[in-house]
């Protein structure tokens, strides 16, 4: 099931009773405190490919999930440095190389008049890299996601809280993982097909 010719996910061997490939196990929780403490337990169990879905950002959920800090600020810093460099090179080339012109007796390559353009281009490139970098790190935009097939998952944008452990995780153990999630206070657990 490749998209745009990209290879599909490797088959990990887990099947639903109907024979479909399992994307993962979805556990529903009634409130943010329940999902928060379940996330701490999933983190401590050593899972890697899993995520928490909630109708709003839950404070501190990144620590509860053991997430590493995002690389986004580095990408934005790269955008800023690129923008500043491009702006300086462009203006230096225009005023000192391509069309040298004496303005008020100043040196051809006087940098002072370049400051506004350098600042603006630095901000422009930083803003682009912040937006595009965020989307790219999140794997967006994408056509579809297996979770969107689940009726239960849709309530995540309303009043339910969900943890999904993907079948591709090295620690994923089928029905044992389902039992583990039920033991954490999940009100419903279901398999999601790929």
């Amino acid at each position: 099931m490749g998209i745009l010719g990209l290879p599909s996910r490797p088959d990990h061997g887990f099947r639903t009773p109907e024979g479909g490939v399992v994307h993962g196990v979805m556990a529903e929780f009634p409130n943010s405190a329940a999902v928060y403490h379940a996330a701490e337990q999933v983190r401590d169990a050593g899972f890697q490919k899993w995520d928490v879905f909630a109708p709003f950002p839950i404070h501190g959920i990144d620590e509860a999930m053991g997430m590493k800090r995002t690389k986004l600020p580095l990408i934005v810093a790269g955008g800023a440095i690129t923008g500043i460099t491009v702006a300086l090179l462009m203006q230096w080339w225009m005023t000192a190389v391509d069309y040298p012109l004496v303005v008020q007796g100043k040196d051809y390559s006087a940098w002072e008049p370049w400051v506004p353009v350098t600042f603006e281009l630095g901000v422009l490139f930083s803003a682009f890299s912040a937006l595009i970098g965020m989307l790219a790190l999140n794997g967006l935009p994408r056509w579809n996601h297996p979770l969107l097939k689940s009726e239960r998952f849709l309530r995540v944008s309303d009043d339910k809280f969900v943890i999904v452990i993907e079948a591709g995780d090295a620690k994923f153990q089928g029905s044992d993982t389902v039992t583990m999630l039920q033991g954490m206070g999940a009100t419903a657990v279901e398999l999601v097909e790929e």
Partner: protein
């Protein structure tokens, strides 16, 4: 997490843009040699004026919205209006300081042309002096709207009264229009050559451009109210007590309901107090 990081980075990037946009707009005036425009105070003066005029315009639009939309008062509270009024008071005085510094520098710089513009061509009424400023009324409208009217906000009951805030915001919007009029028209109508001195009479094109710009602004504003979220609910939800399950700081405040779900979801350190959440509510 990436979304929130991108959000805060973009916010950080756009904040200095407020300064750069308005200072560079002011350079359009300041780099010319026209007395009244050729002024080094313009960049900070324009930034202060932009914050001032912007807050006034936002209050001018939001206060009617707040009355007309059901439940909007729960989200845009009187405390928000009061704090915005304080910003108007502060930036109004910053702008007033800039107005007075223009006069000081006109005298202190020793520049004859600058001095004559500010001594005779801005504030001095024609009925007080034969060489007075024909546009003295524009200057004093600007001063009374921008510097004097926000002084009402020293009184707490006035800065907590939406009607008073709305009237002051309207006056400030008028005053900021006259600020641009004073800078552009009064400086241009009497430049270096007395032979070309003249009064400004707007043509029908000038007037209709102004009317049309108000019209297109209101059209876009109403379309915004109709089609885009005035309050993004996903962001409002993030400040609910429910969104802070482990209670960083501020313990016991508002956690009563979401903690009362038994041991499986028990809150950190709230276990006892949450069994009877009504008792806890009364404690606040």
């Amino acid at each position: 997490m990436r979304y929130e990081k991108a959000y805060i980075l973009l916010a950080g990037l756009s904040t200095p843009l407020v300064l750069s946009v308005h200072s560079i707009v002011s350079f359009d005036f300041a780099t010319s040699i026209l007395p009244g425009w050729h002024t080094t105070i313009f960049p900070p003066y324009f930034v202060a004026g932009a914050v001032f005029g912007g807050f006034a315009m936002v209050l001018f639009l939001l206060i009617p919205c707040r009355e007309l939309f059901p439940n909007m008062k729960d989200l845009l509270t009187l405390r928000h209006l009061e704090n915005m009024s304080k910003i108007l008071l502060v930036t109004g005085m910053l702008v007033g300081f800039a107005y007075s510094m223009e006069f000081f520098i006109a005298w202190y710089s020793g520049n004859d042309f600058e001095y004559s513009v500010f001594a005779f061509n801005r504030a001095l009424p024609t009925w007080m002096h034969e060489d007075g400023a024909p546009y003295w009324w524009a200057y004093w409208t600007m001063i009374s709207c921008n510097v004097l009217s926000p002084q009402l906000f020293w009184v707490k009951s006035l800065r907590r009264n939406p009607v008073v805030i709305w009237i002051v915001a309207l006056l400030v919007t008028i005053g900021m229009w006259f600020e641009r009029f004073v800078i552009i028209v009064t400086s241009l109508h009497r430049a270096f050559m007395p032979g070309e001195w003249h009064m400004f009479y707007p043509t029908w094109v000038d007037i209709l451009t102004f009317v049309g710009s108000c019209g297109i602004f209101m059209t876009l504003f109403l379309l915004f109210l109709r089609f885009l979220p005035i309050f993004p609910i996903a962001e409002i939800k993030a400040i609910l007590p429910e969104a802070d399950p482990h209670g960083h700081g501020d313990h016991g405040h508002g956690h009563g309901h979401n903690q009362a779900h038994g041991p499986g979801s028990g809150g950190v350190g709230h276990g006892e107090s949450t069994i009877d959440s009504t008792t806890e509510e009364e404690g606040h």
